[in-house]
């Protein structure tokens, strides 16, 4: 894929409360693997595996800025619901310490658990009307694979990041990070469970750096 220069201003999700102090931005494009016409598992699920590698379908990337940032005093509550026997959203990047609720929107039991090293938890079986909504705090950086003990095909990914600056690209791989502090950093692009690309970046206030991940 060699399209470049055509910078759209498509907005990334404004997730950061500190954006008002942000002075620098990064935009660019992550080259994503081709979309599989016929994924191994059923199409309707967004997390697929190829040879044990988890990724989204269609592929998207999570781009984030790595560095030492001050711990926020409070973090927003997030939600990953189970709807039509899928996790919605199927891929959710969060900052370390974020609490995620797992509401059940189906008419059946779900039993969400994870054996991932970054977060092991087991919510047990629960119905949609379960209150309080079962939740977990993700306090360790890493990729957490969500599974359902009842619906073995259900997969969800929580990418726990030790940074407040991250964004999910669009299906073409385009992204834009805004309100970034100036300085030397590493900018990373998570593509799948085995692939995270990295580029150094020099951020200057008021400027927009252009970083592509080929």
């Amino acid at each position: 894929m060699s399209l470049r220069g055509c910078l759209s201003l498509s907005a990334a999700f404004a997730l950061l409360p500190t954006a008002i102090f942000a002075q620098a931005s990064i935009e660019g494009r992550v080259e994503l693997p081709k979309s599989h016409a016929a994924p191994v598992m059923a199409k309707r699920y967004e997390i697929v595996t190829h040879g044990g590698v988890l990724s989204t379908e269609p592929p998207v990337a999570v781009v984030y800025l790595e560095g030492f940032f001050a711990k926020p005093t409070s973090l927003p509550l997030k939600q990953i619901g189970q709807k039509n026997l899928t996790f919605v959203p199927s891929l959710l990047p969060v900052q370390v310490g974020t609490k995620i609720e797992f509401p059940n929107f189906d008419d059946t039991y779900h039993s969400i658990f994870s054996y991932s090293p970054a977060k092991r938890f087991d919510l047990g079986r629960y119905r949609p009307e379960e209150r309080p909504i079962p939740s977990e705090i993700f306090d360790k950086a890493g990729l957490v694979t969500l599974r359902c003990d009842i619906h073995e095909h259900m997969r969800g990914l929580v990418l726990v990041l030790d940074t407040p600056y991250f964004v999910v690209s669009d299906p073409e791989g385009r992204y834009r990070l805004r309100g970034l502090p100036s300085g030397h950093y590493a900018v990373k692009a998570w593509v799948d469970s085995k692939t995270t690309r990295e580029q150094p970046v020099e951020l200057k206030s008021g400027q927009t750096a252009h970083i592509d991940f080929p």
Binding site: G52, Y115, R120, R147
Partner: protein, 591 residues
Amino acid sequence: MSLESSPGKSKTAAFRTKLSAAMMLVIAAITAFGFYLAQRNVSHNAERELRENFRTEISALDKLLALRQSAVTERCRTLAANPRIHAALEDNAIDLLYPSAKDELRDLMKNQQPSADQVASTLHAKFYRFLDNHGAVLPAPNPPDFGALSSAAEAQLALKKLPETQQIGYVTNSDSSGDTIYEVTAVPIFSTETGEVISALVFGFKPLEILPQTGVTGMKSGIWANDRLHLPSLGRSEAGSLARAIAGVFTDLKQGKKSLRVTVNGEPHLLFYKQLNPASLFPPAYEICIYPLAAPLAQLHRLRWQIGGAGGLLLLGGFVASHFIAVRFSRPVEQLAVDSEKNRTQRRQAEAALASTTERLERSTRYSADASHQLKSPLTVLRAGLEALLSREDFNPETYEELSTLLHHTHRLSGVIEDLLLLSRMDTGHLQIDSSPVDLSRLVEEWLDDLEALPDSLEVKIEKEVPADLYVAGERRYTSLIVQNLLENARKYNRNGGSIRVRARSKDGEIHLEVGNTGPPIPPDAQSHIFERFRRAATGSGVAGHGLGLNLARELALLHGGDLKLVRSENDWTEFELRLRAVESETIRPT
């Protein structure tokens, strides 16, 4: 005969012995062959029967095994589908693997042991272990929950690589209570995401046992694995010796021998085996069944006795039969030997008799010839002297009478000597007949004239019926001698006032001349001897004669191809018949 036949008897005995020996050899060969066949048959049958039994057992075992395997497979499929186990394996949460499986497989590890016949239907594992993606054993965090296993046994569960299919193996667990063998089944766990084999679950079971069926007693079954024998029904020491025996021949087993003979407890057994896990990633293990051969051996023993007995009886019968047959066969041979011996003896005797007769004959012939010659010369001298004396005239008449009588006797003597000479020539075969036609009629006429002219006191009437011109084949001298003899005898043995009848006729190419005369007949017991030399019938003792005439006449008649017979001699009548070959008078006429 008893002395003569002893070599024949010994020959017969030898023949009989040979015949008996041959028959016994045949019977012995038949018996031995019977032995061989029976033995082969019995052992083949026994082996086939046992193999059949083994096959049945094995197939039953295979069925049980298959049943268990399918149950295991099903369980593993379910297990692999379990998201927690999947998660544990895929998310590398190995510590959570066993705890996750524990709930799932809780029923497999129930403590109560199913009964033997339920082994197959109820899946009861002794232990289970996971293999990692390299085939190595993932150690269980709390072994008692997953079946305690020695580390050596656990090491046996490892495979070089993860299997694509179910693998069966046998591991030996040694602990304080001894060796235990487990049947293990490694079931691959496929990733539900990738379809790849990400792990394997190895279950350990109590091995299925062949349940001894009725009908086959003493059958013992076990497993040969890891160079060890697991035969629980066998004592430790016996198992040990059997294991050594099997280890010794295991290369043979691998080379496709289907069975082998082993000795257990000092008793022969037949061992069958079948690999339990062909083409397995685990080391090969064999199901082993040993069957005691006591029953077939006993049968064989019994059969041997029977055949031996039958062979013995047959041998005995054969001996008797051969004896009789030999006797039967040898009787003609014996008879032949005896006969030939008798014949030889007879021939020897006959030869000896012939030789002596010939010698005697020769001697007598020679004697006759010599005597004739020796007598003839002095007789001639004597006659000449007497004739000279008779021609003198100075003697008185009594002297002349005397001299005349003496001369007559010399003539008689001369006749005897002539006859003897002739006979001896005939006896030696030196007399040659110079055959020519002889006028028999004339000959008879001449001799009758001579007879009438004899100076005799007897008054004899002569009847003559002789046709003229009867010719016979012969030499005149001898034919004449015959006729002379007959006619002289007819006159000589006649009585005073008697008669002589001479008849001749031609019949069947022969001339028959009958000469009959009156007078005392020849006694019946003497009649058969009258033609013998120096024989004279008692009746004629007073008559002059030397007993050679008839003999000579007959010999000459025979020599001429004719014959001389006494026709009758009875009632004052004695009649001879001479037969001589006739010559047709027409053939004579030109001469």
